[in-house]
C-alpha cells in the first residue's frame, strides 16, 4: 500500500507540491513581476506618448493617444547632429565587435589549458582570475587611466578595446564550461598527433558554443553602456551611446526623443539576451565555484 502511494507520487508531475502552496507562489510571483516590469512598461509607453501627455497631471502609465512623433523627432535630431549618426553607429560596431571577438578568442585560448591541462602555475593563475571577479572596475580606474595614457592609446578605439579583452568573468565562465567536456575527446586527438593549438581550435571551440555566445553577450552588455568619454576626446570616435546620452541630457524640449532613446538603450541588450537565453543558461549551469 505504502509502496503504491510513493509510486503514484513519483510518477506524478508535481512531486511534494500542495495546491495552497502553488496558489501562494503564483500570487507572490505576480506581485513581484508587476514591480519588476512596471518601470520597463513605463519606458515603453513613454516612447509612444505625445509631448503633452509626458507632462500631464495626473501622470498616467499608458498613453491615451499613442503616436510615433517621438520617433520622428529623434530621427530629425540625429540627422542634424554635427557628427553623422552613421559615424556613431560605425564607432560602436568597431568598439563592440573588436572587444567582443578579441575577448572570446583570447579568453578561450587561455581557458583551455587552465581547464584541461596540468602545468606548473595553473592553480595560481586561475586563483588570481577568481580574485579579480571579487572587485569592480572602480578599484582600478585611476591606475588604468595612467596605464592607457602611458601606452599612448588614449583617444583611440584601443583604449576601450584592449582592456576589455582581459575581462575576468569571461575567462572564469569559459574555463568552468570547458571543464565539463570529456577528457577522452582531447586524449584521442592527442593520440592522432594533433598539436595544442589544433586541439583548442578544432576540438574545443566547436564544443563550447554556448559559452562563447555567453561571453559575447556579457561583453556586449558592458561595452554597450560605455560612453567612452573618459578616453575618447574626438567627437568622431565616440560611440552611439554617447550621442544617445547627449539627447537624454538635452532638457525638457527633447523629452519625447529622450523617451525613445531610453527605450533603445534598454531594448538592444535585452534583445541580445532573448536571442541567446538558452545558451547563457547552459553556460551558467557550470559557473559554480568548486574549491
Amino acid at each position: 500500500m505504502k509502496q503504491k502511494r510513493i509510486r503514484k507520487r513519483l510518477t506524478h508531475h508535481s512531486l511534494n507540491r500542495s495546491m495552497a502552496g502553488n496558489v501562494m507562489l503564483f500570487v507572490f510571483m505576480g506581485i513581484c513581476g508587476v514591480f519588476m516590469a512596471a518601470p520597463l512598461v513605463l519606458i515603453i509607453s513613454n516612447a509612444f506618448k505625445p509631448l503633452d501627455e509626458l507632462f500631464r497631471y495626473p501622470p498616467m502609465l499608458f498613453p491615451k493617444n499613442p503616436s510615433m512623433d517621438n520617433f520622428s523627432d529623434l530621427v530629425v535630431l540625429m540627422s542634424n547632429s554635427w557628427v553623422p549618426l552613421t559615424r556613431y553607429i560605425l564607432n560602436t560596431i568597431i568598439i563592440v565587435a573588436g572587444g567582443t571577438v578579441g575577448h572570446v578568442i583570447i579568453a578561450s585560448m587561455a581557458a583551455y589549458p587552465l581547464a584541461k591541462r596540468d602545468f606548473p602555475g595553473r592553480k595560481l593563475l586561475f586563483n588570481i582570475v577568481v580574485l579579480s571577479i571579487m572587485f569592480t572596475w572602480q578599484v582600478t580606474q585611476i591606475p588604468n587611466y595612467l596605464i592607457i595614457s602611458k601606452l599612448g592609446i588614449n583617444n583611440t578605439y584601443l583604449a576601450l578595446i584592449l582592456p576589455s579583452f582581459a575581462f575576468g568573468l569571461g575567462l572564469y565562465l569559459m574555463k568552468q564550461f570547458m571543464e565539463q567536456l570529456p577528457d577522452s575527446m582531447i586524449e584521442s586527438a592527442v593520440l592522432d598527433g594533433a598539436g595544442e593549438f589544433r586541439i583548442y581550435w578544432s576540438i574545443i571551440m566547436p564544443n563550447v558554443k554556448p559559452a562563447w555566445l555567453t561571453l559575447a553577450v556579457l561583453q556586449f552588455q558592458q561595452m554597450w553602456g560605455n560612453t567612452g568619454s573618459t578616453f575618447l576626446r574626438n567627437e568622431e570616435l565616440k560611440p552611439l551611446q554617447y550621442s544617445l546620452q547627449q539627447i537624454i541630457n538635452g532638457g525638457p524640449a527633447r523629452q519625447g526623443a529622450a523617451a525613445v532613446v531610453t527605450l533603445i538603450i534598454a531594448a538592444v541588450p535585452i534583445l541580445f539576451f532573448i536571442l541567446c537565453q538558452s545558451n547563457i543558461i547552459e553556460t551558467m549551469a557550470t559557473s559554480g565555484m568548486k574549491d
Binding site: P39, P113, P143, Q221, S287
Partner: protein
C-alpha cells in the same frame, strides 16, 4: 594511461624545469590573455596600493607620505565617514536581500513550465541589463505632482503636498535601496536558475522515499546542498555589486546629494579622483574599497561552504 600522461605532459616525476619546458605550448596560449590581464587588472591594483601611500596629482611624480592618506581618511574626512556608513548600509541590506531574492525567484520560477519559465526569467533579469533604464525612476520619484508616486499618493489622499523624495534626507537611502534591488537580479540570478535546472531529478525521488514531505524540506535538504557551487558563485556576484553602488545614487540623488545622504565610497572616490585630482588620496579610497570587497567575499565563501553540511 601512463602513455597518456606523457603525451599530455602530466608526468609529475619530471623536474619542475622539465615540466615547464614540456608545457611550452600551454604558456604560449595563456600569454595573450594574461599579459593584458596583468597590465589592466593586476598592475592597477598593485599601483593603486602603492599610490595610496603618496601624494600624487598626475603632473608631478608621486611623493611618498606613509600612512598620511589613511590617517586623513579615517580621522579628518567627514564625508568619507558618511560614505563608508552608506556603503556598508547598502552592502548589508542589498547584498543579502538581493542574494535571497535571486535564490527565491529562481526557485519559484523553476516550478513553472519551461515556456513560462523563460518569460519570467526575462522579466526579472531585464532591469539589470537595460543600461540606464533606471533613470525612469526619476519620473516615478519626481518631487512635484507630475511624479507618478506623488500623483498616486495624492489621488489616494495619503498626502496633500507632493514630497521631494530624492531631496529629503530620510527618504534618499530608502529609494536608492529599492531601485538597487530592482536592478540586482543579474548574473547571480541566472546562475541560480541554471543551477536549479541541472539538479538530478532522481535526488528528489530518493528524498521523497526518505520522507521529505513538502517543497520547503526539499529545498533545504536536497536543492540547496546540491547547488552549493552555484550558491558560492552567486554570492560573489551579488556581494561585489552591492559594494559598488554609485551611478544610481549620482543619477537619482545627485552628486553631491542632500547632506551627502546618498554618498558612497565610489562616489567619494570619483570626487577626489576625477574632480579634485588627488590621486594618492583617491588610491587610498580605492584600496579600502578593494579590501572591503575581497574581504567580504572571502568571508561569505567560508560561510557558504557550510551549507547543507
Amino acid at each position: 594511461m601512463k602513455k597518456m600522461d606523457v603525451l599530455l605532459n602530466r608526468n609529475y616525476e619530471w623536474s619542475l624545469y622539465n615540466r615547464i619546458r614540456r608545457n611550452k605550448a600551454c604558456y604560449l596560449m595563456l600569454a595573450p590573455y594574461f599579459i593584458l590581464f596583468f597590465l589592466f587588472t593586476v598592475l592597477p591594483v598593485l599601483s593603486s596600493i602603492f599610490l595610496s601611500f603618496t601624494t600624487f596629482n598626475v603632473l608631478e611624480p608621486p611623493v611618498f607620505t606613509g600612512w598620511d592618506n589613511y590617517i586623513r581618511l579615517f580621522l579628518d574626512d567627514d564625508i568619507f565617514k558618511i560614505a563608508i556608513k552608506n556603503t556598508l548600509v547598502f552592502a548589508v541590506i542589498t547584498g543579502p536581500i538581493s542574494y535571497f531574492m535571486c535564490l527565491l525567484f529562481a526557485w519559484i520560477i523553476n516550478e513553472f513550465k519551461p515556456r513560462v519559465r523563460s518569460i519570467l526569467t526575462l522579466i526579472f533579469y531585464a532591469p539589470s541589463i537595460s543600461g540606464n533604464a533606471y533613470l525612469v525612476w526619476n519620473l516615478i520619484l519626481r518631487g512635484d505632482r507630475y511624479g507618478l508616486l506623488n500623483g498616486w499618493l495624492m489621488d489616494l489622499n495619503l498626502i496633500t503636498q507632493p514630497i521631494v523624495w530624492m531631496k529629503t534626507e530620510k527618504y534618499v537611502m530608502l529609494f536608492l535601496i529599492i531601485v538597487q534591488l530592482w536592478l540586482s537580479l543579474g548574473t547571480g540570478f541566472l546562475t541560480f536558475i541554471a543551477g536549479l535546472q541541472t539538479i538530478d531529478r532522481s535526488l528528489y525521488e530518493a528524498a521523497a522515499v526518505d520522507g521529505v514531505k513538502n517543497r520547503w524540506q526539499e529545498l533545504w535538504y536536497v536543492t540547496l546542498p546540491s547547488m552549493r557551487p552555484q550558491l558560492m558563485f552567486g554570492a560573489v556576484m551579488q556581494i561585489t555589486q552591492s559594494f559598488a553602488i554609485a551611478d544610481v545614487s549620482i543619477n537619482l540623488a545627485g552628486n553631491p546629494s542632500v547632506n551627502y545622504a546618498g554618498a558612497t565610497i565610489v562616489t567619494h572616490l570619483m570626487d577626489t579622483g576625477s574632480i579634485r585630482y588627488e590621486m594618492g588620496y583617491a588610491s587610498a579610497i580605492a584600496t579600502i574599497l578593494f579590501l572591503l570587497m575581497v574581504g567580504t567575499n572571502k568571508l561569505a565563501q567560508r560561510i557558504l561552504r557550510k551549507v547543507g553540511e
